[in-house]
Amino acid sequence: MSAMAMQYFDRVDAATIAAVLQQWREAYAAMGVLALLPEGEKEQVGTLQRVCTQLDVPLVGAVFPALVEQGVFRSNGVWLLRFDAMPYAALYENVPTDPTSLTALLDTFTDGIKPHINTHKDSTLFLLFDAMVPNIGTMLDELYLRLANRVHYMGANAGSETFQPMPCLFDGTRIVSNGVLALLLKPHRGAILEHGYSVPQRMITATSTVGNRIQQIDWRPAFEVYQEMARAQYGVEVTRENFYQVAVHFPVGIVRANGVILVRIPVALEEDGSLFCVGEVAPNSMLTLLQAPAVDSVHTLDTLLSGLNGLYGDLSMRDLLLFYCAGRRLHLGVAAAGEELRGLEQRTAGARIAGALSLGEIGSTTQWGYPLFHNATLVASVWGEN
């Protein structure tokens, strides 16, 4: 794949886009396109679908809170990422939560994808979820049981930063809600995920959870304990009134035995004191309260790039795909987040970085690691590995 496999357009102009697509197709007859749109351009999905239909170019894509381009976050335009040959793609809508229906969906999912991964050792299952899907972690557990190490796993959540329901996944003819877009990239050696949060000393137990909702911590209403910890650890008074402004700076960390934590950003407070997070929290998980200063950005970027170098070698002049968590940007602040983006750009020495601000990320901190659903991370990969 050439270095021009990713193209950012600062506005969604059908003629301009059509011209580029025609040029691409002359070189790659079996090409397809992944489109990343910012939430502000969501009305332009139809334009993209019309252009691609007219040119008979397979299209898949998603709408994110913002795009990442040249070290900055952008709320306009569109990224078109070319597949030299359109890979296997499947778009499912309305992901069920009841176990029976979910099993049926996963059966269909794996039956569809398995024939396409037979001959390639290094394939990546690239998943784009609607952030409103509440059982992404469960789906990852099930997919890992079914596909195991036949694929690497990477992905991100699309949707609105306000967490209001919004159709955000699309192909050439549909745009769907509560769905998942699955792409089988091959050959592809996966992605690296990193967040750089360290583990504070004090830990608590999520004694009662349902999917994304932490109902109780240490057998008490979750918010009550959350308030106490914020006060005790960071001297911050979190109230029902300032919850939405403050909580994003104090996400919950799920502690794993290897010392690596999964970040869960509380995005809503229920009447009964439950905390509604982005991503499932398993019952009886050990939790901790995190704070922005706990993030080591330098370490994060170094670890991320070290992992990518391990997978792909020299990254200079490569096309990189990056998903940067919207919650992390809120947590660190726009300025610090921008600094991280620029730091990444500097460290990759001329690599072109395309990406989006995401609402949750999928991956592992090591290659072939257990795939997990994260918040507040950076997920990076090479686009179009040869």
Partner: protein, 501 residues
């Protein structure tokens, strides 16, 4: 240590072996970042040789090894046996049935004598925890949980086995029923508690003309009950819904039913109630009795002919007797009418009254052997003549005893001069030894004889006759018979005049 609390809770929350093992592996991989977990159970003790054949009970994270779950695979003994251990760059891993070179590191976690967990990785995931020690308490719990889950599964399997046996028995029973019902000549219909048809066998299709698809779910009463019966059926069924009881439940009744073409047919209906799932259902077996009804009609016609012939014969005999004995002319007929009236007054069944009438018509047939001059001679009889006269019941009995009447005609003739107190003849029978027909016949005979003219005396009148039976009411004559006789003469004005017929 507290970080493994959720693993312990996962272990404690499962009741079946497979999800227990799978979820335990998933949580261990989640916590350690090892990509692959294998779990072997019931590993044979170390034997000579470098490999052991062990069953792979669960695998997560490796597609090829996942295909081996449930199978016995040869694995290096040194890999499966031993204490908790983290070993890097182990050549042992190359002997596993998966892609060569995939794994370089393993973490072995023995499960307290039950088996072993192996976590595998291409390179050792970063951790600051002493993984070989930190999971030991969890492994002890896992061993106990495996035993409990196995016990639970064995118990559940027993229950399922019992349930399957019951299901199979039920399936066989249902199959038998369907075969029987399909082969039955009678229509078999089942109704739900709304009166809707929920079973309709092939005979029902033939009998009523409705196919199974048409009949299923239809209101049975609307389908095959004539309009004149429907209101009664609806009332009866309403009671049946709440109690399983009804006027025809448990009985065999003859009714009329309606075919699809609008014609009717006589049926014999047998209804039973079934209480299923808290509701009353009705099962009906319906037999077409058109043929039987036709046979019965033919038989009745034939019996009528036979009876009329018999009556003709008896009338002829009676007439013959009366030709020989003009003084008793009409006696038998008048006695027969009076006896019939008494029996009717007493509420006897018509068929029995008919038998009484025929017996009365010839009750004096034995007099055929009494010389005519004795019968018709005026004046008192000598003792020897009276002896001859007294023999007429026995003689009459001998004449008709071999004739197979459907009624006790011979006994009537023999006993019509017997009296309750034993003073009668020829046998001197007492009370219930005398058949009821003879008890009526004796009263009618006496009253008619006294009332009518005789060669040896003039007619004495009906009041004398009544006085005679009332005088001996309860001694010679049955009180109920005497009372009935008095009522029909005094109250109903029985006529002794010859029958105009």
């Amino acid at each position: 240590m507290s970080v493994l609390y959720d693993v312990t809770m996962v272990i404690g929350g499962e009741v079946a072996v497979k999800p227990l093992l799978t979820k335990t592996l998933q949580r261990l991989l989640y916590h350690t970042s090892f990509p692959t977990g294998l779990l072997f159970l019931d590993i044979p003790a170390a034997v000579q040789g470098e490999t052991v054949a062990a069953q792979l009970a669960a695998a997560v994270g490796d597609y090829e090894l996942g295909e081996c779950v449930g199978k016995v695979i040869d694995a290096p003994a040194a890999l499966l046996h031993g204490q908790a251990e983290l070993q890097e760059h182990s050549p042992l891993l190359a002997q596993l049935p998966c892609s060569p070179g995939t794994y370089q590191t393993f973490l072995r976690l023995p499960i307290d004598g039950m088996g072993v967990i192996l976590l595998l990785a291409p390179e050792t995931p970063h951790t600051e925890l002493p993984l070989t020690n930190v999971f030991q308490p969890v492994m002890a719990n896992l061993a106990k949980a495996i035993v409990l889950c196995r016990n639970n599964e064995a118990y559940t399997a027993d229950l399922i086995s019992e349930r399957d046996v019951a299901r199979r028995a039920r399936a066989v029973s249902e199959e038998r029923f369907h075969h029987l019902a399909a082969a039955a000549q009678d229509a078999i219909i089942m109704l739900d508690d709304d009166g809707r048809i929920e079973y309709w066998n092939p005979s029902a299709e033939r009998l009523f003309g409705y196919g199974r698809e048409e009949a299923m779910g239809a209101q049975m009463h609307d389908l095959i009950a004539p309009a004149s019966y429907r209101a009664d059926f609806a009332r009866g069924f309403e009671a049946f819904r709440s109690s399983g009881q009804g006027p025809i439940v448990g009985k065999v009744v003859e009714l009329e039913a309606l075919r699809k073409d609008g014609s009717t047919l006589p049926i014999e209906l047998s209804v039973s109630a079934m209480h299923l799932n808290g509701r009353w259902h009705a099962a009906g077996i319906i037999r077409d009795i058109s043929g039987r009804k036709a046979d019965e009609a033919a038989l009745a016609h034939s019996a009528g002919q036979l009876q009329r012939a018999l009556q003709g014969v008896i009338q002829a005999i009676a007439t013959t007797i009366e030709k020989r004995d003009p003084y008793t002319a009409g006696h038998q007929q008048t006695t027969a009418r009076l006896a019939t009236a008494i029996a009717t007054e007493m509420g006897w069944a018509p068929d029995r009254i008919e038998g009484l009438r025929l017996g009365a018509m010839i009750h004096d047939i034995g007099k055929i052997y009494v010389p005519a001059e004795i019968l018709s001679r005026p004046g008192a009889l000598t003792e020897s003549e009276f002896k001859i006269i007294k023999a007429h019941p026995s003689v009459g009995y001998d004449i008709v005893k071999d004739v197979e009447f459907p009624w006790p005609v011979a006994a009537m003739i023999l006993q019509h001069h017997e009296r309750l107190d034993g003073s009668g003849y020829p046998a001197g029978l007492v009370g219930d030894e005398i058949i009821p027909e003879a008890r009526i016949l004796s009263v009618a005979d006496v009253v008619e004889a006294i009332t009518s003219h005789r060669p040896y005396r003039p007619a004495l009148g009906v009041e004398v006759g009544l006085a005679e039976i009332l005088k001996f009411r309860g001694t010679l004559f049955e009180p109920a018979v005497v009372d009935a006789c008095v009522r029909i003469i005094r109250e109903h004005h029985f006529s002794f005049a010859p029958n105009p017929e």
